[in-house]
């Protein structure tokens, strides 16, 4: 077993045993599932008369990407919009999950002073950070994907399979399965960078919370019809994110100053 694997396994075990962290993250996942599903349920069961109303800018934008929308009533269109817009919320979850886990993992280790014996072993900084990263990202992403699958299941249960086909297309899948791990990595990198500069996990999480702002901008932009994310824009975003991930992780490795951690972290 490599040292990275050893750190990874320990990290997963440690994070899963942190009930507060797991429960708060899973509560957030459930909240992010229940709110859009509830909203969608109201729209799906709205009176048929609503179908005669004019389409909104967001619907008009989305119709270009999803032509099937034109055949639907406004209530159904609204339901599809809600489902698709709230799919973007699943980008917030990995940030929160990875940020919370990484700050808790690194700051937590320095607070419990368990990091010093680890740094006295032959484990290198890169091995330690990779092991921790894989553990943190794996949990944040699997929690998010679990939430998404639950979301899809509930939408299917309430709205039927026809709406599912329109609401969860290639773009949606790319958002969840490509952008989520990349955003989790960014959250993790930010956690490592911030943790190396602050002494408590709460401050680290508050500062790292700023990462959510660009995602909120994406959601608002979609809702207001400012733009609609398609496969091309998702792939472009993925490339930018990958670059940012590597940059932030590189900064994280540099800032993870073993001596400073041992001598100055109290």
């Amino acid at each position: 077993m490599t040292r990275i694997d050893a750190v990874f396994r320990k990290e997963v075990k440690d994070l899963l045993s942190n009930r507060g962290l797991v429960f708060s993250f899973m509560a957030l996942v459930l909240l992010f599932v229940i709110i859009p599903v509830g909203l969608m349920a109201v729209l799906v069961h709205a009176p048929q008369g609503m179908g005669k109303e004019e389409s909104t800018a967001a619907v008009r934008q989305l119709t270009r990407l999803v032509p099937e929308l034109e055949q639907m009533s406004t209530a159904q269109q609204g339901a599809v919009l809600v489902i698709r817009h709230f799919t973007l919320i699943f980008l917030i979850l990995p940030v929160i999950g990875a940020l919370g886990s990484s700050t808790s993992s690194i700051v937590g280790e320095k607070q419990s002073r368990s990091i010093e014996p680890v740094l006295a072993t032959p484990v290198t900084t890169l091995e330690l950070l990779l092991g921790k990263s894989f553990g943190t990202v794996a949990l944040a992403v699997s929690g998010t994907w679990f939430g998404f699958l639950l979301y899809v299941g509930l939408v299917r249960l309430i709205a039927g399979s026809e709406l599912i086909r329109v609401a969860f297309d290639l773009t949606t899948m790319m958002i969840v399965f490509i952008l989520t791990p990349l955003i989790a990595l960014l959250g993790l990198g930010a956690g490592v960078v911030i943790s190396s500069r602050v002494s408590d996990s709460r401050s680290a999480q508050q500062i790292g919370g700023l990462l959510i702002l660009p995602i909120v901008f994406l959601i608002v932009g979609q809702i207001t019809g400012l733009f609609v994310l398609g496969p091309t824009s998702i792939m472009s975003a993925a490339i930018v994110l990958l670059f940012l991930d590597l940059l932030v992780l590189r900064i994280g490795v540099r800032l993870f100053d073993r001596e400073r951690i041992v001598a100055e972290w109290k």
Binding site: R3, D14, N18, S112, S114, P117
Partner: protein, 320 residues
């Protein structure tokens, strides 16, 4: 001459403007147990951290296991081959005792991590509690587990930073007995402690430091250097004439009367004592008993720290 397992030369560590260790030159030899003594803030923990490659010196050099602590490759070599008990046990409280050790056995990439964990849990009498979370452990149990962790990879050189700090007397004793067993196995031990009785029982040599080295030697030699060879003669009343006659012997450096007892400092008590006993008997003194006047390690330590405070630094390293 035997190669030292640890050798420092002018080792200096500063944190910003604060000097934690200054110009420390000391050697430790294979198989010996050395106690690093000094008041709080004397730089003991910093010295241990320097030698275990957790931090780097600003000046000076040190070789551990023949490797240079300033070279990254050597630092990896040292980390893989020394054991460290940190000042705080630093265990994962939510993990079991078994997993706490298994994680480190994997970090050291042991061939058979499980059997190493089992061996040390049994040796440290924690086998029955292996599946309990360490958060529920007493301080003594945590300390024993942390020692097991430091020994998993069978290091020849072990650093113990305050091993009995905060332990009750029974737990301290248990731990001390274990340290003596390690010493008997031929392992080299460097321990920092405020517990002078522990240092006296475990250590072959004492290093007293306060940022820099104040003294290093065996307790007996330090005693001789500080207080000389003193013999206490308990006599039924001693006259000024008797005192003068004792002082007249050329091998007697000093003779004092203290609470009715005669304290004689001399070069070689083995040859001097019979002469002095005969002289006192010849003068009709009633001698009740004669004994070495051995100062405690506490006396020695306090005297050395006082000397260090006064700037009287006797920083010579004894190359035995």
């Amino acid at each position: 001459m035997v190669e030292p397992i640890i050798q420092t030369e002018g080792l200096t560590k500063k944190f910003h403007e604060k000097t934690a260790v200054e110009d420390l030159s000391v050697s430790v030899y294979t198989g010996e147990a050395v106690a690093l003594l000094g008041p709080n803030g004397a730089g003991k923990t910093t010295t241990v951290r320097l030698l275990t490659c957790l931090i780097q010196p600003n000046q000076g050099s040190a070789r551990v296991l023949g490797k240079d602590i300033s070279i990254e490759e050597d630092r990896q070599y040292i980390r893989a081959r020394v054991g460290l008990l940190t000042e705080s046990p630093g265990l994962y409280d939510r993990a079991t005792a078994w997993y706490n050790l298994l994680y480190f056995a994997r970090l050291y990439q042991l061939d058979q991590p499980e059997s190493a964990v089992e061996r040390y849990l049994k040796q440290l009498e924690l086998w029955d509690r292996r599946d309990d979370r360490t958060g529920s452990f007493s301080k003594g149990m945590k300390q024993r587990l942390a020692i097991a962790r430091a020994l998993l990879h069978e290091p020849d050189l072990i650093f113990l930073d305050e091993p009995t700090s905060g332990l009750d007397p029974a737990a301290s004793r248990r731990l001390r007995e274990f340290l003596l067993r390690l010493k008997a196995e031929g392992r080299t031990i460097l321990l920092t402690t405020h517990n002078l009785a522990e240092a006296e029982r475990v250590a072959d040599r004492i290093v007293v430091m306060k940022r820099n080295l104040i003294a290093v030697d065996t307790p007996e030699e330090l005693h001789r250097r500080l207080f000389g060879n003193r013999t206490r003669f308990v006599v039924d009343g001693i006259s000024e004439e008797q005192l003068t006659s004792i002082r007249s012997f050329p091998f007697v450096q000093d003779a004092q009367c203290e609470n009715g007892e005669l304290l004689v400092t001399q070069d070689d008590p083995d040859s001097g004592n019979p002469v002095l006993v005969s002289e006192l008997a010849r003068q009709g003194a009633k001698i009740k008993w004669v004994t070495d006047d051995k100062a405690s390690l506490e006396d020695i330590y306090l005297e050395l720290v006082d000397q260090g405070d006064a700037g009287v630094s006797d920083s010579q390293d004894k190359d035995s």
